[in-house]
Amino acid sequence: MSKQPSQTIGTDESTRSSNSLLSVSDLCTYFQTDEGVVKAVDGVSFDVQSGETVAIVGESGSGKTVTSESITRLFKSPPGFIPEGSIEFDGEEVNDMTVEELRTLRGGRVSHIFQNPQGALNPVYTIGWQLREAIELHQEVTKKEANEKAIELLTQVGIPEASARLGDYPHQLSGGMKQRVMIAIALACEPDLLIADEPTTALDVTIQAQILKLLKSLQEERDMAILFITHDLGVVAEVADRVVVMYAGKVMERGPVMEIFETPSHPYTRALLECLPSKGNLGGIPGSLPSPIDPPDGCRFASRCVFAQDECLEGPQPPAYEAGTADHVVSCIHYEPGGNPDIVLKSDATVSALDVDQMGVGGENR
């Protein structure tokens, strides 16, 4: 009758991992620093099916970028390391791969595009050179074939007169054009999974719209999965099939895009949606991110949560409880079987309705 308790966030994926393209479970990525071990990602699980778009959304410091970099171990190591957790790509454990295998995976079946195309393109080489390099690294082709392939790719990402553009240097292109070139390079080896880390954040809305449309059409043509990292809920609503909401290295909520936006269930998700400028509720989320070195007990969001109870400050992060459907899980104590989710769902309480000053306007003080 009542909702079946699903297991912890760490293990509920095990039954599905066999047919997922990417399955991340209980991933932890830590960084050794002078001040201590920074737990940037601390037990994150989600999976990506082929051909779908999963968006990881969170604010800066949530660990979303480190999560995406962990998939092909792009983060700097040392100081970074993965103490536990598993990343399975198409049934293979990435954590067990050799350096050589990882290299083949990166830019092969898994490609990355980044926020800042200016920094990701080498200013001293032409874009043609960089495209051909990407092609030749992973495929046995002649120079002529590589050239033809480069032209083809540029045409596909909507750059006209591709062959003339091959001789251009990155500084000759606009921001939007550069991001298109980055996408072309990422597509060079026909990846099954494209990891896009804030690909439109540095761009104007009008160019962002162009790039989002491009990514969408490319995905349809190629049946490619996209893992989209962003802080912009508007972009999430635009592109995602499923959404992972991250906060302080943990997954707060995970589910299909419709449910996340229609019945946001975790207090953090709700607060985040309330903050959108179009909502007309100013004030932000009072309080500050917990320390990534020495995170507090209980739910990571508890100290800023309107619905927090004493139990929220004890033990580990609550497990992933079902909220509505099997695919929609929430790491919040109110969704525990026998709990009362209506406390959150039916409440009109929003952060902005709180006495902001009592919580301390300068709450992000460290």
Binding site: P160, T206, A209, Q210, D232, E238, V361
Partner: protein, 450 residues
């Protein structure tokens, strides 16, 4: 003081900021980047005025040149009735007490080697307050008012988060008790939840001190949140100025409409991102003739008698634009065509040119790259286009240029629209010309003689 309440606190008239482009052997001026090209507006006490536009539209330059952080190259700026462009350096220094700016990038707007206390006190020292105790008291009070603590004074910028630095930026701007604050992208570098905190703080401070605020942003959401009036800027000019409410509910200029529809809404049921603006903002050193937006406008007015759907007409125009600017590289089209069609090009010496590829293939490729269908609805247009394609396939770019130039001339390209006042709002677009009386349209249709 002759200045009265009903008068605007600041009046900006035909403000211009052109940057000379030097080059050539003798470093002479070879052109000018018209970053701000004649904008005018009034702003009243206690009002929040927003300027919105894409990057490169000149909005930041407008902000810095209207308060003479950069010297404007033309126009007037009056503060309480006095023209600040005529101020000497002493008057200008004194003027800084009245108008302050907050900056976009919280990371680079603070000297990493100066403590926060010193940074906030800097305007006080520079303006001549030599009493150290007094300064410290003011800074401590200011830091507390923006939500930090007085003990933060000794700390350095890198010890604060972006949101905190923006609070400190507000404190620094308030230090000399200004009347007007110009905020250049005050929240664009921050997380959404922090953005709304800062916007809230700005609103509170505005009420507490009766501040007049000018906000520059590319984010329409932010503008909508705090602005009373909004100007939409494109390539150095205002294309629409209206009350915030009206602008968002009923945008009049096609550019405003396009900007609004490009914002992703946080609602997965409303996907699609509306009208797509093709291409990038044109080079401001050579802005397009007529209406500067006509090269990207989704609603360009077609010549009379032309019966084409708006989207096809837009594509035709875009194609014509590329032919005219010679950004269309025929050999490249040919080479791309060869690759796409799988034509064997091994036996061609050197680079492939148009003549090496069959005309039909080139035309197919041209149509594909420019989104042009094989058959246009309008027969005259179809003929013209076919003729141009033939010329292009023969490598005759000049001929094609002429062919296209004659037949697809539009009023938007020929005449620059004027920012005209209508029902309390200003729009600069030919779409609104015909609504006024007959005269203007007739005039607009006459060919321009040099």
């Amino acid at each position: 003081m002759s200045w009265s309440r009903s008068e605007p606190i600041m009046q900006i008239e035909n403000l211009e900021k052109h940057y000379p482009l030097s080059g050539g052997l003798l470093s002479g001026e070879v052109g000018r980047v018209k970053a701000v090209d004649g904008i005018s507006f009034d702003i009243h006490e206690g009002e929040t005025f927003g300027i919105v536009g894409e990057s490169g539209c000149g909005k930041s330059t407008a902000a810095t040149s209207m308060i003479r952080l950069e010297e404007p190259t033309g126009g007037q700026v009056r503060y309480k009735g006095k023209d600040i462009t005529e101020y000497d350096s002493t008057e200008l220094k004194r003027f800084r007490r009245n108008v302050q700016m907050i900056f976009q990038d919280p990371d680079s707007s603070f000297d990493p080697r100066m403590s926060i206390g010193d940074a906030v006190a800097e305007p006080l020292i520079v303006q001549g307050m030599s009493d150290r105790k007094k300064r410290e008291a003011i800074v401590a009070d200011l830091l507390e008012r923006v939500g930090l603590s007085a003990s933060d004074m000794a700390r350095y910028p890198h010890e604060f988060s972006g949101g905190q630095k923006q609070r400190i930026g507000l404190a620094r701007a308030l230090a000399v008790n200004p009347d007007v604050i110009v905020a250049d992208e005050p929240v664009s570098a921050l997380d959404v939840s922090i953005q709304s905190e800062i916007l809230q703080l700005m609103k509170e401070l505005q009420e507490a001190f009766n501040l007049t605020i000018i906000v520059i942003s590319h984010n329409l959401g932010v503008i909508r949140e705090i602005c009373d009036r909004v100007a939409v800027m494109y390539l150095g000019e205002f294309v629409e100025v209206a009350n915030s409410e009206e602008l968002f509910n009923d945008p009049q200029h096609p550019y405003t409409r396009a900007l609004l529809s490009a914002i992703p809404t946080p609602d997965p049921r409303e996907r699609g991102l509306g009208v797509e603006l093709k291409g990038d903002v044109p080079d401001p050193s050579a802005p397009p003739s007529g209406c500067r937006f006509h090269t990207r406008c989704p609603e360009v007015i077609p010549p009379e008698n032309l019966e084409l759907s708006q989207s096809v007409w837009r594509d035709v125009l875009h194609f014509r634009q590329r032919v005219r600017d010679s950004t269309l590289n025929l050999d490249s089209v040919a080479e791309t065509a060869a690759v796409e069609e799988g034509i064997d090009t091994d036996d061609i010496d050197g680079d492939i040119s148009v003549s090496d590829v069959p005309a039909e293939t080139v035309i197919t490729q041209l149509r594909r790259e420019n989104n042009l269908p094989t058959e246009l609805a309008d027969s005259t247009a179809n003929e013209t286009l076919d003729k141009a394609f033939d010329q292009l396939a023969r490598g005759d770019l000049e001929g094609a240029k002429e062919t296209l130039e004659e037949s697809f001339m539009t009023v938007c390209e020929r005449d620059a629209p004027v920012l005209t006042e209508r029902e309390g709002r200003q729009v600069s677009c030919h779409l609104h010309d015909d609504v006024t009386t007959d005269g203007s349209m007739l005039e607009a249709d006459q060919p321009v003689s040099d």
